[in-house]
């Protein structure tokens, strides 16, 4: 797109960019690569485990059911990374929300309908506080959200050292509800996560707020000179991330029907990995939230292929995630240098 037309090689009218150069300069390429990777992996799965029922539509739908919470968390992280920041408190916030919800429902006897808005408010407020400190005191996001990581994990343990299982009937009926799609079904959590994705897509690409997020991530200095309210946008981005983490925590609570102080340890890494694999530039300012969806699906597919494989052990998930992460970071690196020169 614009990147290719601005590059010096195309400045002389005699030379038009080749198809390959145009393709490599296209910002949508990383997303396309991830989508292609997903299709290839799915194809490999189909050919290898055809006799084990891999081809059933429900296996595909289960990717959304089993990774809905990760998708929601990753969407929140996408906002932060697009704005050029980072949020390490995601996993802790998810763990805290499971604990908070389980404690209020089981120990305090509050109905889940009352607890859900409370949990979301707490998450959004936590994100707001972190954003406030980051913007107003100019402390690096990395260290502020690290403090958030410690704080929320600590608060989990303050609530209870042991896990609290949820036996509440309205929660379990909500968790077990199936939304039929004809060829299979989705859980409520999966539907909510797709809804969040749709809202995020709209906000990032069709609203003023979304443009500001991209502008600040692209170049904070020029965004400021343009008169964009960068402070408000930054704080809002962390608030969105906190809200999404809390929502992811609620979905995780539904999925696992318990609160545990060690739930979702390290999930911020999965979320960041999904965003990176989805093609969002870690320096901010470039990327698509739909890429994040593919990032999450690729990570989910690794897990289900390892399940189907049976003999492979779970640690291969981590290694495969690391290798993919590395490959995509290097691809991004080459693409950004190409754009600069």
């Amino acid at each position: 797109m614009s990147a290719t037309t601005q590059s010096p090689t195309t400045a002389s009218p005699s030379r038009t960019p080749s198809a390959a150069a145009r393709l490599l300069g296209d910002r949508r390429l990383p997303v396309a690569v991830t989508a292609l990777l997903f299709l290839v992996m799915y194809g490999v799965g189909l050919s290898r485990y055809q006799n084990y029922g891999f081809a059933e539509p429900q296996v595909f739908l289960n990717l959304f059911i089993d990774n809905g919470y990760l998708l929601v968390a990753a969407v929140g992280v996408t906002f932060v990374i697009l704005s050029g920041g980072i949020d390490l408190s995601v996993g802790s916030m998810i763990g805290f929300t499971t604990m908070f919800t389980a404690w209020l429902v089981e120990r305090q006897g509050l109905p889940i309908v009352v607890v859900i808005p409370m949990a979301l408010a707490v998450g959004a407020f936590g994100g707001f506080l972190m954003g406030y400190v980051i913007h107003n005191f100019e402390i690096q996001p990395f260290i502020v959200t690290l403090a958030g990581l410690f704080l929320f994990r600590g608060l989990c343990l303050v609530i209870s050292k042991e896990s609290i299982s949820i036996g509440d009937s309205s929660v379990s009926s909500m968790a077990q509800a199936q939304v039929s799609l004809g060829m299979g079904f989705l859980s409520i959590g999966a539907i909510v996560s797709l809804g969040v994705l749709a809202v995020a897509f709209y906000v990032l690409h069709y609203t003023r707020f979304g443009r500001r997020v991209y502008a600040i991530g692209g170049n904070e200095q020029s965004a400021m000179l343009m008169g964009l309210p960068q402070g408000g946008t930054k704080i809002a981005v962390y608030t969105v991330s906190g809200f999404c983490s809390a929502l992811a925590g609620l979905l995780f609570t539904l999925y696992i029907q318990s609160g545990d102080p060690l739930h979702a340890t390290g999930m911020e890494l999965d979320a960041i990995a999904a965003v990176v694999i989805g093609g969002t530039l870690l320096t901010g300012g470039s990327g698509y939230v739909l890429g994040t969806l593919f990032g999450v699906l690729v990570l989910g597919l690794i897990k289900s292929i390892i399940q189907f494989e049976g003999t492979l052990s779970s640690w291969w998930t981590k290694i495969a995630t690391g290798v993919l992460l590395c490959a995509f970071i290097l691809v991004q690196r080459f693409m950004t240098t190409r754009k600069k020169t």
Binding site: I139, A147, V158, K318, I329, L330, R333
Partner: protein, 373 residues
Amino acid sequence: MTTSSTTPSRWRALTHHHLFWPVAVLVLLLLVNVPFTPDFFSVKMADGHLYGSLVSIVLFGSPLILVAVGMTLVIATGGIDLSVGAVVAITGALACSYISDQADQGALSGVLLAMGLGLLAAVVCGLWNGFLVARMGIQPIIATLIIMVAGRGVAQLITDGQIITINSEPYKLIGGGYWLTLPFSIFVVAAVVAVTVVLTRRTALGLLVEAVGGNAEASRLVGIRSRRIKIMVYAFCALCAGIAGLMISSNTSAADGNNAGLWIELDAILAVVIGGTSLLGGRFSVGGTVVGALVIQTLTTTIYTIGVPTQTNLVFKAAVVIVVCLLQSPKFRAKVFGAKFAAGFAARRRAGQAAAPAGSAATAESTAKMEVS
């Protein structure tokens, strides 16, 4: 020192020293323990070993000090290394699985080989991080994230997902043994810290590291091989983490790919920040980091001894991170204490750091005066 002969200026020189606040916090934390455990400072002799709270703080804090010292240099170059926890796990896993395969687990040669193997793997991880950061130009947080994610998987792969327990006397020495009545790990830490201080403060290396952290491009233009220095620093950091990994696995006589060194990178970064090294890079204090690591370990011990439920440990740590970072932020100081105080404080800090390599508090004072006036 010749200029400050009167008592008030000596006091000022002391409070302006870059180690003053970290040490003050450490002393304060240690004193908090006294009302709860009256014999906190007493050190007893039993079985030819020294026992006491102070000894155990240093013993249990050893791995953290090592990791934090390596992290200090990485942060001084403007980077950060998130992979140290995974490197700890890999090193321990490799060494322990090698020893457990030996017929005679107590054989010194086998143990030395196992340690060498573990440390080699650690250095390879560090070189990889350095390669990504210095050669490929990837942000340090992201570059080291790769090994942070994949490393634990590798460690579990090495141990086959199990916790490998070993029974080897020579290996036990590194993390759990005693030598000359003191825990052996104290000597290891002392040696690493001494080597680091000598290399960075008695040679130009420290200056070069700070130059790279201050402005990598400018330092390259004046002829410093900034890329090579960055790679070296990441390798050194991983080596320190590797030694810590040997220590942790030796202390428990087991390799746990999942939990060994979990969150140690965060504690190490915290130690570096408490020690007065800015996360922006460009200057560092190894002494401050050692004190910072001791502060964290003392905090943990204090929480145990005063009977606060141990689970609030993390909340305390979060509070410490926030307070330390807020105090380091010029904007926060300006808003809370007023602009004048903040300016004075900033000048004092800058002066203290500028003078730190020279090791003279007197120059710090004179520069501070110059900057204020």
